[in-house]
């Protein structure tokens, strides 16, 4: 989708708000919201690609103006409701209650397995690499062009690289394809490559900064051979 989250190259957002001695969490609610990726993930709410797509469906104005971890709470609510685990009326009722009684305690429950999961997943992670028999169609050194079309749904094919031509500089193997998994499909693994674009290819000679490159990772379906290269059908 052509969403506001796709920020690369957007002008007019102003200086970077750097905070000195920034704490890891700015409020207690941020800790709870931070727990709302890994724990609902374990409960089958979403994979990381769907999690991102839920955030991308926030209203653009709210996306830009809300604190970061509210994005996480939004996507958890989105998928929790969609899966029938969370009831919207219940959420509203309890929100009103906690707004009037901010110090009211949370329900207490102990779950040693969940505690062990938290420590385990932090250490082990959850790689998106997936085995596949697919042969890589491209190799380091190939010049490729990114498809220019605007897909609906979740994609990592950012607008600022669409239609642009660059050179493959790294080949990473096969990974979950976000354009499938993020839209409720299967892992559908595809080869991932890093493509190097010159600044002038991305922004034009007039405004591009000198002597610079942007490196962007693409899944194989995002690219075609660059025009004029051997075997190009584009």
């Amino acid at each position: 989708m052509n969403g506001v989250h796709d920020l690369g190259g957007t002008d007019g957002l102003g200086p970077v708000p750097v905070e000195e001695e920034e704490p890891v969490f700015h409020a207690e609610w941020e800790k709870a919201a931070f727990g709302m990726f890994s724990m609902p993930f374990r409960a089958g709410f979403f994979g990381v690609d769907q999690f991102r797509f839920g955030i991308e469906q926030m209203h653009p104005a709210i996306y830009l103006l809300s604190p970061y971890y509210e994005h996480w709470a939004h996507t958890v609510e989105h998928f929790g409701v969609e899966k029938g685990v969370l009831d919207p009326a219940d959420i509203e009722e309890r929100t009103r209650y906690y707004l009037e009684n901010p110090d009211a305690p949370l329900p207490q429950r102990s779950d040693p397995d969940l505690l062990a999961f938290v420590d385990g997943v932090v250490k082990a992670g959850a790689s998106a690499a997936r085995e596949s028999d697919k042969k890589a169609a491209y190799a380091v050194g190939d010049r490729v062009r990114v498809l220019g079309s605007s897909p609906l749904g979740h994609t990592r094919r950012a607008r600022y690289i669409r239609g642009r031509t660059g050179e493959i500089v790294l080949a990473h193997g096969t990974f979950i394809y976000p354009d499938s998994a993020g839209n409720g499909g299967g892992d559908a693994p595809e080869h991932v490559y890093t493509v190097r674009f010159t600044n002038s290819e991305l922004w034009g000679e007039e405004t591009a900064e000198p002597n610079g490159f942007v490196y962007f990772d693409v899944w194989e379906p995002y690219i075609v051979p660059a025009a004029g290269t051997e075997g190009s059908a584009a």
């Binding site: 750097v18 905070e19 727990g35 970061y68 959420i91 992670g125 998106a128």
Partner: protein, 209 residues
């Protein structure tokens, strides 16, 4: 007959919530998920504690210091960031597949995630708010020299090539910064203490002691 268009449940009128409203809503979600067996407050606290006290830029700094003092380690790190960090027991969530890019006298690297907030947690911890915010994400790919100069006080000469790594896939990039002059006699531990978070993002350099 007129029909009222139905609004998808996730889209709401653009009204920004206050901190109090967000806190109440998150608490409501947490309460329900505790009752449903999905979350616990002890797991929330443990997860927060890990990233407040255990996993942070001090881990990346240890890797950098070792790379500066051990050429074989440096070579392995640049070839396979994930496996080489594992040698030091460093790795895991949001760093399952890491690529370390090296700054030199003629190349300066900087990382971003223009589409969301991807960041190498096992070596840098959780990202600062500015890294996740729209200003940095929009501008660093379009005007990196200007952002580094005006927002981070890092003025790079035009002769230095600037490479911006947009973390659009699950590969997690981070920067092996230049070892500053005047550190020749220092051991790994002393070197690690010099390495800043921003030098591993690429929005800073390691200052000379």
């Amino acid at each position: 007959m007129s029909t009222t268009p139905t609004r998808p449940p996730t889209v709401r009128q653009p009204t920004v919530r206050t901190q109090e409203e967000i806190a109440a809503r998150v608490k409501a979600l947490e309460a329900i998920m505790i009752e449903k067996g999905i979350m616990t407050t002890e797991a929330v606290d443990r997860l927060a504690e890990i990233y407040e006290n255990e996993v942070g830029p001090q881990l990346g700094a240890a890797v950098v210091a070792k790379a500066w003092t051990d050429p074989d380690f440096r070579e392995r790190l640049l070839r396979d960031g994930t496996a080489t960090c594992r040698e030091l027991g460093i790795g895991g969530l949001q760093g399952e597949d890491m690529v370390v890019v090296e700054n030199t006298d003629t190349v300066h690297n900087v990382i971003v995630c223009t589409l969301c907030s991807c960041y190498p947690w096992p070596v840098l911890g959780l990202p600062p708010n500015w890294y996740k915010g729209p200003q940095y994400r929009s501008r660093i790919v379009r005007e990196p020299r200007k952002v580094l100069r005006e927002d981070f006080g890092l003025d790079l000469p035009e002769s230095v090539e600037v490479r911006v790594w947009d973390s659009s896939s699950e590969m997690r990039y981070w920067v092996l910064p230049l070892r500053p002059a005047g550190t020749e006699g220092m051991d790994e531990q002393a070197l690690a203490a010099l390495v800043t978070r921003d030098s591993m993002i690429g929005t800073g350099v390691v200052p000379a002691p």
